[in-house]
């Protein structure tokens, strides 16, 4: 019997969980603990105990608001966060198998800095680093940097030509950003460091490469100051909800995160991304497509639904998300993930509605259910994130270019 295709699983870590009232749950961490290392390490270790492929860590430059809205002066929700790439670095040396994927914005950051940050995370985790590349543009964000004026995204103005043009430009910049980061990762060949005592040379400079990227927003000369990371190319992840970001994910990412609201929507989105991928000349490259859910999980589905209602009441409004919301039992979720996987998804990124409850339910409830269905690993089969997700260690583009 052929092995069934395995489902890949990631969890998205943010604040006290994704429901705005999650921090008020009796088992939730005290508010100040959200800004300490222990809280994040506990979550990542819990995810690792559940054999998950990777965790993502949310981030953003502006203080949190609801949706894309301007600062809202609300005092009843989690506000304040730590830099995600540094949380990732802090947990890397004290975890051993799970992939660690911080969110880093492409809009205001320097590709040169981002490249060495993720490369160094890959060294600190010995090959488990990824990067969720996120476009900026939230209200008030540009003013934090004062370097450029950007049309601000808002749900009301989303379909105006001005905002659509801005979105297209931001994603083009993001694609350039990822391209520079990827070239810098390859700018050192793996064997560039030679330590040749006879000639006194530490590196073979023929194996260091200028990347000479020139784009609309920036030009970068290279090479990186950091040697090629252990995975060669750490994983690039992109969340996408519509055509422009689908195209970005298809051009630039290794894992696309999408948010179909029902199983029938999957095939169309997957087809669109695959077409964009072919158009970008990447048809032969591996690109995984993950679905997303916000999850409320309890063995008794009525309890999960009741819990969501109770949290909604505490928050003062029903919870909606860009991703579909699942409230039910781990077994029912396992069935749904299996069905959605058959419809064309390679895996899922789950957003626990509350922490620790729903994170624990993913690792101790959902994972065994998937294992019973022969859809999920029983032990880690690789030491790198690329390995867990079935990616080879890639050839270096500059070596290939010379060989050709």
């Amino acid at each position: 019997m052929a092995a069934r295709p395995q489902i890949h699983l990631a969890v998205a870590l943010d604040g006290a969980g994704w429901h705005p009232a999650a921090w008020r749950e009796p088992d939730a961490a005290a508010a100040t603990e959200l800004f300490g290392a222990r809280y994040w390490l506990d979550q990542v270790r819990r995810a690792e105990a559940g054999l998950l492929d990777f965790v993502t860590i949310e981030d953003g430059f502006p203080l949190q608001t609801e949706g894309f809205a301007a600062p809202d002066a609300r005092t009843d929700r989690v506000r304040g966060r730590l830099d995600a790439s540094l949380i990732a670095a802090r947990v890397a040396p004290v975890t051993s198998h799970i992939g660690i994927v911080p969110t880093v914005t492409t809009t205001h950051t320097e590709p040169f800095h981002v490249s060495k940050t993720i490369a160094t995370l890959d060294y600190a985790s010995t090959g488990r680093a990824g990067w969720r590349a996120q476009v900026g543009g939230r209200a008030g964000e540009s003013a934090l940097f004062g370097r450029r004026e950007l049309a601000e995204l808002s749900l009301e103005k989303l379909n105006t030509p001005e905002v659509q043009a801005q979105i297209a430009e931001s994603f083009d910049e993001a694609a350039d950003h990822v391209e520079v980061v990827r070239r810098l990762w390859d700018s050192w060949e793996d064997d560039a460091e030679i330590r040749d005592a006879a000639t006194g040379r530490f590196v073979d400079r023929e194996k260091l490469h200028y990347i000479d990227f020139s784009g609309r927003q920036f030009s970068v000369r290279g090479p990186s100051i950091t040697p090629r990371p252990p995975q060669g190319q750490p994983l690039v992840v992109a969340l996408a909800h519509q055509s422009i970001p689908y195209r970005f994910a298809a051009r630039s990412a290794d894992v696309a995160l999408i948010t179909p609201q029902d199983v029938d929507a999957i095939a169309g989105i997957v087809a669109e991304i695959r077409a964009d991928q072919a158009e970008a000349g990447r048809a032969e490259e591996r690109l995984l497509i993950f679905g997303e859910f916000v999850v409320f999980l309890d063995e008794n589905p009525a309890v999960a639904i009741e819990r969501k209602e109770r949290l909604d009441e505490a928050a003062g409004e029903p919870y909606f998300s860009d991703a579909p919301v699942f409230a039910g039992s781990p077994g029912a979720l396992a069935d749904q993930l299996a069905e959605w996987a058959r419809a064309g998804l390679d895996g899922f990124r789950l957003r626990p509605a509350t922490v620790p409850h729903d994170l624990e339910a993913i690792t101790s409830g959902l994972v065994p259910q998937l294992q019973d269905r022969h859809l999920f690993r029983r032990e880690y089969e690789a030491d790198t994130l690329r390995g867990l997700l079935g990616f080879e260690r890639p050839a270096n583009r500059y070596v290939t270019a010379i060989a050709a």
């Binding site: 304040g80 730590l82 100051i225």
Partner: protein, 462 residues
Amino acid sequence: MSQGTHTPPKQVHLAAHFPGVNNTTVWSDPRSGSHIEFDSFRRFAQTAERAGFDFLFLAEGLRLREQNGLIYDLDVVGRPDTFTVLAALAAVTEHLGLAGTINSTFNEPYEVARQFATLDHLSDGRAAWNVVTSWDAFTGENFRRAGYLPQDQRYERARSFLHATRTLFDSWHGDEIAGDKASGTFLAEPRPGAFSIHDAFFDIEGQFNVPRSPQGRPVIFQAGDSDEGREFAAAEADAIFSRHGTKDAGQAFYADVKGRMAKYGRDRDQLKVLPAATFVLADTDAEANELADVIRHQQVSGQTAIRFLEQVWNRDLSGYDPDGPLPEIDPDLGEHTIARGRASVRMNRDPLAVANEYRALAEAKGYSIRELIINVTSRQNFIGSPRTIAETINDYVQADASDGFILVPHITPDGLGEFADKVVPLLQEKGVFRTEYEGTTLRDNLGLRPLAAGESSEEVAA
């Protein structure tokens, strides 16, 4: 003191600089390990912490150095990202301060403030920042803005940058997070972190999104030695990373910098003067001297000597024999520089005068190019038996030539071990070095006053 008791001796502060990308780092030694893999940083940091050092220090470089238009390949090349390494080290150390050099030219205050505030949270109050400037278009080729900043504005931007980050660090006062689950009050006030900064360099406003960190802000280091740099340190810094290795020069520098503090209303003990120092340890002073010579020859190979000479002559000298005499041709005084990405080359020096000095010395002593360079570039600061080195260090500190030293071993990552095992216990015996960490934060361990909520040091002074 008033009742006839002796003044307790000054305490020595020690820190460890991870060996850098220059010729003092001997990569050819068989004991030399990776400069990139995290395990090297872990071992180095854990040795420093075992010895009770105040902090570990990482330098930064944002472009690989070049000479004659080619990437310089004789020294260690490459390094990992500073913030990422420090945050990872927070996981494998408990007390050691985590100090990083971060450039104020190719970064923005909002992002750097977030990174340092985060590092301070994730290390429970152990973050420190060495603020440096750069201006060259060469480094700028790796960044969005390229070489935008005129050289004469780099200190102004650095000062403005530091003020902007101070404002951001102080924008949360420490009492904003109520976290009352019952009433649903996460924030005690609706607009935490509000800031507005408008000056010649920055035009930024909004709400900072990292709550106040354990130290309030990172410990601030300054490394420039110019008059402007000293003034900047006296006004703003918690520690100064100086380069005055001799006792006389150290005392003059120490008196000068600390003397500038009063006009800013600051106490002299609120700025630590910490020169970088190299060392060679052996069982006896004689053995240490011999070993120092061997290491100097490792540090200055024939090719390295030629490259050094090229930096003065500012021309390609690759055809010269390092074991032969100095070139008869004079230095090239043109505007271009042969060695790009090096901060120190040709600054404040008259190349022709230096060349003539070198020629006179070589002639008098019969030096080849290599022997000359070995003799005109820095010898190790401390050479001797553990006792000699412990006594020298203590003597410098008690004589106000410094408040301690940032030690730079020549071997990665284990070059600190012998110092930790042999010199530190002697300093402890003298009662001038801690046997356990005094406090929980780097500020505590450096003897710096804690900052009250929302209080920058300038406001303390006012």
